[in-house]
């Protein structure tokens, strides 16, 4: 790998990210140069100062509440037929958002779909973070052959169009919440790995790591207790965007009928409404609004976190 020293100059703001480091969300996390960890208070107060982020937090809290309460609010199978078909929204008190082509309640579907979307979004992100941080930390800290091998693997996974790979992965497994999350994690880990690698590479040269090493700390301890907390800020920003894109991916898969057929999901509701666009477009429209609100909330939070944790924008970086 050629040294790209020209890009590494700190404070050189107008240089583009080097071709080797092209995170998916490059437009948000341009600056991967690490900073001392922002304190938790700093994050909270930054979120408070940022009204759009508050809106995001409120929407996300609402969706989470709906997901958690859906078994209480809408007991029974959301796939069960509960009324006459093609009831428009607001036409009946029993079905505030109307019913679909089979007479299933749309509000109950949206509420139960929130559970599915959030669960897959969170578990896929958690899995992707663990995989990505582990690989990136190893590559960045060890360097040498380990780095070369892992970087090659990252490059392979980032070259393959991710949605095509996702479709292949889903095609070879039985779709369920577990396999969908795993497939999405396999598609998304390289972004995190690339980011973590860059962080670990620059942090391992810092004095505090040298100090830890001279104190005789083990590599594992240095990686987990010394470097990781300092590498977290950009990874946290990416995590919120990852949840959003995991939700989008899951919905696209279930829209095409490649998701878990046994649960109701926003994507599958949109897919089933597709046949009736001409006469009853609301069947597809409403679950889409749920996706939009949830993803929008996550993106708003991601933006605010980026502003709070991005050292360049805070201007207080040494």
């Amino acid at each position: 790998m050629p040294p790209k020293a020209i890009f590494a100059a700190p404070g050189d703001h107008h240089t583009p990210p080097p071709p080797e480091t092209r995170p998916l969300a490059a437009f948000r996390i341009e600056d991967t140069v690490s900073a001392p960890t922002a304190s938790r208070n700093g994050v909270v107060s930054a979120l408070r100062r940022h009204p759009p982020a508050l809106i995001g937090v409120a929407i996300l809290a609402g969706v989470t509440l709906l997901a958690l309460l859906s078994p209480l609010l809408f007991p029974g199978d959301p796939l069960a037929i509960t009324g006459e078909p093609f009831l428009w929204p607001f036409a009946s008190l029993a079905h505030p958002l109307g019913t679909d082509s089979l007479g299933r309640d749309i509000l109950a579907g949206v509420a139960h779909g929130a559970r599915v979307s959030l669960r897959i979004g969170l578990s896929a992100t958690a899995l992707g973070l663990v995989l990505g941080v582990a690989a990136g930390a190893l590559a960045g800290y060890k360097g040498g052959w380990t780095d070369a091998a892992i970087s090659r693997l990252i490059e392979i996974f980032q070259t393959v169009p991710s949605f095509v790979l996702l479709v292949v992965l889903v095609a070879i497994t039985q779709p369920s919440a577990g396999t969908l999350s795993a497939a999405i994690a396999i598609v998304t880990w390289p972004t995190v790995a690339r980011l973590a690698r860059a962080e670990f590479r620059s942090l391992r040269e810092k004095d505090f790591v040298l100090a830890a090493r001279s104190l005789g700390y083990s590599h594992t301890r240095i990686i987990i207790h010394e470097i990781l907390p300092n590498a977290l800020p950009p990874i946290v920003v990416t995590a919120s965007v990852m949840v959003a894109s995991a939700i989008l991916m899951e919905s696209a898969l279930s829209f095409m009928g490649l998701g878990d057929p046994n649960v109701v999901s926003w994507g599958s509701m949109i897919g089933q409404g597709r046949e009736y666009l001409r006469s009853a477009w609301y069947i597809s429209a409403l679950p889409g609004l749920a996706i939009m609100l949830t993803v929008l909330a996550l993106n708003l939070i991601g933006d605010a976190l980026n502003e709070a944790l991005n050292p360049r924008k805070r201007g207080g970086r040494a």
């Binding site: 107008h14 092209r22 090659r152 393959v160 479709v167 095609a171």
Partner: protein
């Protein structure tokens, strides 16, 4: 210009050298992934035709090479690949290569147009937002960008169909040309273009949102640089400063992400092409998943990865042209 050439050649050579092991890795990864798939195309055919006799199924498997051990299947696959042969599609009963090449132009046309539209619209909107930073136009466009950034493309597709095809009746809701409509000539071209408007829009909106945000930030950042102050102090005109000094630097990050988004567009094409019934690789991928024809799926995976590799190499070269610093340190 003379000194450009060896540098660009070096960048291109570098990109090629880097791409080769990646390409080989992708072939092997893809092949072993699809070996994990339960059932093969012959199973599906047998299910659909109401059951094949064991002998007929075995004959079909033998014909498609599905009865060989895994490693010899890989060896046969690699040998074939070296000759541009991706194997035989048991599902469509044609060579995979010709099946894919037949769909390739449709996909390239769709994602290429979407990429160009996204870059142009994104750069224009981003520049506008940066020029009016903090104004209502900037805020409104920022909110719109965030909204479109949060919408799934398949949902946008359906809603565009509801509005523009069903209610207004302006544009067709699917297909790629009017059946029995004008062939060739300007009329045929226009007819084709009408069918492209909605798919291209559905695919682009997400990327326009990304690029607008990106260019906005890059331009605001670039114009605060010292070299812009220097240029202004030299007495250069504002338009010259905007184009030569600010925009040129602000476009660098755009070329990086736009190149890597080709893969995203090809992937997004799976959904959008399926919705609009557009004859491209994406819809073929969907059809081959449903038909469990993994050879076709593998071929699509490889070809779309190859396109991404080519796009990345082109971006490296383009950046060499835009940024004289790129590639200078490679010689060291």
């Amino acid at each position: 210009m003379k000194r450009h050439l060896p540098r660009l050649a070096r960048i291109a050579g570098h990109a090629g050298l880097r791409a080769l092991p990646t390409a080989i890795g992708i072939v092997i990864l893809g092949f072993f992934l699809l070996q994990q798939a339960p059932g093969d195309a012959v199973d599906v055919l047998s299910g659909e035709s109401g059951g094949l006799s064991t002998e007929a199924a075995a004959a079909l498997r033998h014909h498609a090479g599905l009865d060989q051990p895994v490693l010899s299947q890989l060896a046969a696959y690699l040998t074939g690949l070296a000759h541009g042969d991706l194997g035989w599609s048991a599902r469509f009963n044609v060579p995979v290569t010709s099946l894919i090449l037949q769909r390739l132009p449709g996909s390239l046309l769709l994602s290429g147009t979407a990429l160009v539209v996204s870059v142009l619209a994104g750069a224009a909107l981003g520049a506008l937002m940066a020029a009016r930073e903090g104004s209502w136009a900037d805020r409104g466009l920022s909110v719109a960008a965030l909204l479109f950034y949060s919408l799934p493309s398949f949902w946008i597709s359906l809603m565009l169909i509801v509005v523009f095809s069903i209610h207004l009746g302006w544009l067709p809701s699917g297909g790629s040309q009017t059946i029995g409509g004008p062939e060739g000539g300007l009329a045929g071209l226009l007819d084709h273009a009408r069918y492209m408007v909605l798919p291209v829009t559905s695919l682009s909106l997400f990327y326009i949102a990304i690029y607008a945000r990106l260019v906005r930030v890059a331009m605001i950042e670039a114009r605060a640089q010292d070299y812009v102050r220097t240029a202004r102090a030299k007495g250069l005109s504002e338009s010259r400063i905007l184009i030569r000094h600010i925009l040129r630097n602000a476009l660098l990050p755009l070329t990086t992400v736009a190149g890597m988004h080709l893969g995203g567009m090809l992937g997004g094409g799976v959904v959008v092409e399926t919705v609009y019934g557009w004859p491209g690789l994406g819809r073929l991928a969907y059809e081959s998943v449903i038909g469990r024809d993994f050879r076709v799926l593998l071929g699509i995976l490889l070809l779309s990865s190859l396109l991404v590799i080519v796009a990345n190499a082109l971006v490296d070269i383009l950046q060499g042209l835009l940024d004289p610093r790129v590639g200078v340190s490679h010689a060291a």
